[in-house]
Symmetry: C2
Subunit: 464 residues, 2 copies
Amino acid sequence: MVGQDSLINRVKKTIKKYALLKPKSRILIGVSGGPDSICLLHILNQLKDEYKLQLFAFHLNHQLRGKESDEDEKFVKQFCQKLKIPCQIKRAKVRKYAKQKKLSLEQAAREVRYQLLEQTRKRLRCDGIALGHNANDNAETVILNLVRGTGLTGLCGIPPIRDRIIRPLLEIERDEIMQYLINNKLTYRVDKTNRNPKIPRNFIRTKIIPQLKKLNPRLIETISKLSNILRQEDSYLNGLTDNVIEQIRKERSKPGITLDNKLFLSYNLALRRRVLKSLLPTLGYDKIEQILKMSEEKTVGTIQLTKDLFARQEYDRIYLGKKVPIPINQAIPIPIGKSSLIKDMGIEIEVKLKSKIDLNSVKVDKNTEVFDYSELAPPFYLRYRRPGDRFIPFGGQEKKLKEVLIDDKIPRRVRLCLPLFCDTKGILWILGGRRSARAPITPKTKRFLLVRIKQWKDQTPRTV
Amino acid sequence: MVGQDSLINRVKKTIKKYALLKPKSRILIGVSGGPDSICLLHILNQLKDEYKLQLFAFHLNHQLRGKESDEDEKFVKQFCQKLKIPCQIKRAKVRKYAKQKKLSLEQAAREVRYQLLEQTRKRLRCDGIALGHNANDNAETVILNLVRGTGLTGLCGIPPIRDRIIRPLLEIERDEIMQYLINNKLTYRVDKTNRNPKIPRNFIRTKIIPQLKKLNPRLIETISKLSNILRQEDSYLNGLTDNVIEQIRKERSKPGITLDNKLFLSYNLALRRRVLKSLLPTLGYDKIEQILKMSEEKTVGTIQLTKDLFARQEYDRIYLGKKVPIPINQAIPIPIGKSSLIKDMGIEIEVKLKSKIDLNSVKVDKNTEVFDYSELAPPFYLRYRRPGDRFIPFGGQEKKLKEVLIDDKIPRRVRLCLPLFCDTKGILWILGGRRSARAPITPKTKRFLLVRIKQWKDQTPRTV
């Protein structure tokens, strides 16, 4: 057990170690009225001059425990008045929010609390939000995450600092906080729902931790040190992961993500798992393993990850993305003599008919093709491929369109939403790719059909 | 619950996933007679043909439970006979070993078991040792390590393969093993000490895990997956750590280790902690933190780590090493005209007197000095520094020897075991460093004293 002075000094050590406070900061303190937040408020109030702090308090009345909630509110108000700290009171309909968002009451209360804290911080132009989490809360979180399933990140527990939130009591144990309150004759409110063992965290606190303490009386401190080590290792690995993502992510793959699988495989398995977990944070262990296996075995195929999400591997690439509606199946008429913008295909195309053309001045590139108009069967269309499409590549023999695309190593998801320029007899040009052998320009050509892609936005893959 | 076929298939998956077995291997199976090892033996026997295995069994009679131990031995013998697997029986005096080594009975039994297993493996020229650890054992280890204090490594649980040891049942739960035994009408021996809740592992198994399963019925599987992730991350970080150690470790610092602190600080904190933990594996969290802090703050000083071990920082170096006896305090006489090997100082020195010397042909380098013999006061000595030593550096003024060495940035631990070449009047040469202003060579010099270091092994630091 540690006395008052010593506790303040230990809080100061935590503040220094994690650089929690800059001098002259404006700090908003979340105060429930329970032991932790009362202790935090009292200690920060004592450090106010030394750190040149401006303190504000925030209390959220969750209105979950009727009269008791109101008495908590009153208690916090009075305590802040005594310390002359301005206090913001908010009320929230947590029950309603929980219903709307389909959350447990605890989870809903948490979300509402953090949202309102951040709103209030902004309004008061505060630099940070101080919360009263202690070393026991941290140990409970670690054990809870271990039990429920987590990677390294979950075992890191509660961070002492994240974004605007700081937790100066994070290395102090609950017993020490209680002793501090006694020494300073401070009263606090007791939330009886904290004892309900049906809430998992309470179960860990009341049933598991006392048992584990029989094996190691310094359990809370032990886990606190563990968290400290793991947080650094986790954050280091996160940094490496971000670098890898930057390296292996291919351009032009919105709205999904395309990874270069050869490069991906050049990284350590631990990093590869983290890359996937970082890109697809909601995914469970088994799905991540499946993608890793597909990548390692270089299997061409698709893994359904969730209802919407899929992973697809083809031609040394892994595509991670959303399944979206089937492609438009109709053909879009393309008039001659003007620009047509087809929003659904993300394409703007211009078709011109010319009687004379200087072939040297027309830049025939990926975005331009020219046909002998006399050989064509207008009107012209733009459409996606259809089953049974056939195609005569320039200089080649007639084939299934599918085979042509496969020969050209066009990834499946691109094949399915590749616009085709057609006349009534068939496909003339695979946009951005091969043209048909039909209607070639010859010395006899008198009327030239000039087709030009003016704009082409990378399109959502329509399906897998 | 999983049936027989399915269990074998799952074991095969584990074997494949971690590459546990090569075809045609000779495998020694550790068999206690309990459910796990009986299941393992039975399954490997079924996989024998498919994997072309040669199986051997090993049983250690710990002789800790009198008649019961002997019955276990008999049971294992008979079971192996039935399967026609050659069985090696060993007996060990675990109680005696525990006393000698001051270990708990469990720890002693474990050490003896692993030693004898490895001996037997070598004798039978086996490729691997298969042990029956299951997913529950792994979960128990993870929780036990979490409670007792560990870094990431402890949370990795039991490795499926390490050196020669393989654990094909590591991803199978105890319940499934029991079901397999029932399905196959296999009997097994029960070790009643496994129920003693005073043994921490048993406490975790019987008191903690059943409680945690209320929060997550798939706890064992959950922890198994966690271990798998953490093992990969841990092994990745270990690889990086080894690379860092190679980079920052300075040459010529045996028997301790000298690190380049500038370079050390250029690495991430997580790696720095791992470097120290890897170099000083027995050290606890707080000591490692102290070294990290010393390194970060570039404080010159010494940290006592254990009774023998210390860490010392000076001149951008961190020295980690053992405290060894105080330096020899006497002076070693060095005769003229021959080579003297002073083993304690790790030095071989040659002193010659010459009447004529071609100064151009004598290479005066770090290993050689020349004095005017007429100015000297023989006999000559080699000794370490003593408190109050004074010195006139060549071309300088008389000073405390200590100050001269500090000015020259000689690290403290080197200062303490730096041999000094002296005559009866004082120090003539700091070996490998400055010479005294006394007895310079002049045009009048007629007799030259030539001192040459023939061999100089880097010496143990004598003290801090």
